[in-house]
Amino acid sequence: MKALTFTLRETPPERLDLSPLTPEKLAGIDKGEIGKIRLGMSKRALTVGDLFKVSGSDLKSIVFEGGSERFDRVGTGLVDGTIRVVGDAGAQAGRQMRGGLLTIEGNTGSHAGSCMRGGRLEITINAGDHLGGPLAGELAGMNGGMVIVRGRAGAFAGDRMRRGVAAVLKGCGEYAGARMIAGTLVVTGGVGGLPGYLMRRGSILLDREPAELSPSFVECGAPDSSFASVMDRYLVTDGILKRPLLGKAPGKFGGDNAVFGTGEILFRR
């Protein structure tokens, strides 16, 4: 069976909400009815048929041929199967995913992987601010699963993260891992100022010592660490990194002592 493919006709004239186009939400919908699903966010009421040419029928494998920074909420609540966007996506890509695989072959806007609980989100270029983070009023951000950003992420990556693993491979903006509750944020390529700001628990793993750290972090030595070896091996065998991140005995800063204080920033010495 050929993947259910949505081929973009032209750049969308307004922001879109693509959350109805997941395997779970399309299940049971007649193929003829798919074209009538409303995606536009304005009074124009743009539908799938207005924006895309639809082909294929395998609901477990959905492809968007052509992307746009106006594609909001791609793969929201994905539970199973795969969604692939050949191009950019807008805000909240993969928000509240629970399983499956979402691949964005381009850039995403803010809040990618927001409040994920499971599954895997891969962004091949850059992600915006608040990677995995909560929307206003929500208490926790990413709550499980795996996010990989092959390029850069903006500020507040891993904001209020609670579980799971997020990896950013070409650096991220300031306040990485801010307000983390737990979980693991991996950053190679450098972080901006004040990583781990107000983190309670959790781990921020870096390939170098952070340049600007909040004074409420304390230096905690560098004993040999089996955890570092096991984590390094996982990151390499899972195809996230090409070489080990932390080494045998990474340095550690503990904090943020302005709050709970049992978080950690581990870095390669």
Binding site: A182, R201, D224, S225, F227, V230, D238
Partner: protein, 302 residues
């Protein structure tokens, strides 16, 4: 009893009788081979027989750094017990007292089974609130701060109900030295069989037992039929000229592992021959009263 002869060694046409057990396996790693072994040896100390130790345990195989989860030298340790509760109790006590305390150690699950036994999820409380939970790659770890850094321990390991305890070989020789040589040859061969352990000291038992005894409360007592000094006094199994008997006891992750181990042991002892080792090989057969697994020596001949 009929006897077969292989390379001059007589083999009784009998069977070893074994019974079902609960078992698990873990990998213990250390900063080097010496300390990985030390943790494993301490953990499996005083674990020869469920009769008096609660469990039977030993190192299954030593692992090079390339084959362990954290890239350090390690040992695969197997632990056997008669019930799931007893296995969990022994695992928890031994892990806490012998592995957690050993310098630079870490501990990983190495068996997928029908149920989970607690490893780190029982020990984590030693961290007094500073322990850290980490889940990645489908596995769950606990990191417990200790004085030389951190004790990394996987949260759970698997339980198998397919395990078999009590596979055995009896090696009958002219002298103590020859019996010991035969036993050492068997142990060296069986050590290479994955999934099978020999829990007794160095893999060898000199006090093979029979079921029950004349004194109240004794569940096992000396195997008088195979004790050379009682020959003639009791109904003995020993021929003239046999002065020492040693036993190899084998526990296996599966029945096939026990059979493979016994086959390897038989091969090594018959290869050694009666001039240097055992003149005769027999097996502990309790008339079908002990367990449902029967390993006939004639089926396992080299």
């Amino acid at each position: 009893m009929q006897r077969l002869i292989v390379n001059g060694v007589a083999i009784d046409d009998t069977f070893a009788e074994a019974f079902g057990m609960r078992a698990t396996a873990i990998i213990i790693t250390g900063p080097n081979r010496k300390w990985a072994r030390q943790a494993a040896i301490s953990m499996t100390g005083f674990a020869t027989s469920v009769i008096g130790c609660g469990c039977e345990a030993a190192i299954d195989v030593e692992l090079p750094a390339s084959q362990t989860p954290d890239g350090r030298p390690g040992c695969r340790v197997m632990i056997f017990a008669v019930s799931t509760d007893e296995l969990q109790k022994q695992l928890q006590n031994r892990l806490g007292q012998c592995v957690l305390t050993s310098p630079g150690s870490a501990c990983f699950a190495d068996l997928k089974g029908t149920a989970d036994l607690k490893l780190g999820s029982a020990l984590r409380y030693f961290g007094d609130g500073w322990q850290v939970s980490k889940k990645f790659g489908g596995r769950h770890y606990w990191r417990v701060p200790v004085m030389d850094g951190e004790f990394l321990c996987e949260a759970t390991t698997g339980l198998t109900k397919e395990a078999v305890g009590g596979g055995n070989l009896l090696l009958l020789a002219e002298s103590n030295a020859k019996a010991l040589a035969a036993a050492e040859a068997a142990v060296a061969a069986i050590e290479k069989v994955p999934g099978a352990i020999m829990p007794f000291p160095g893999g060898v038992v000199r006090s093979g037992s029979k079921v029950g005894g004349k004194y109240k409360g004794m569940t096992a007592s000396t195997n008088d039929a195979f004790a050379p000094t009682l020959r003639g006094v009791v109904k003995s199994e020993l021929d003239p000229g046999i002065n020492a008997v040693l036993e190899i006891v084998i526990d296996g992750q599966t029945s096939d592992a026990v059979a493979a181990a016994m086959k390897a042991g038989l091969g090594a002892v018959t290869k050694l021959g009666p001039a240097k080792g055992a003149a005769r090989i027999s097996a502990g057969n309790y008339g079908g009263k002990l367990g449902k697994f029967h390993y006939h020596l004639k089926d396992l001949l080299p």
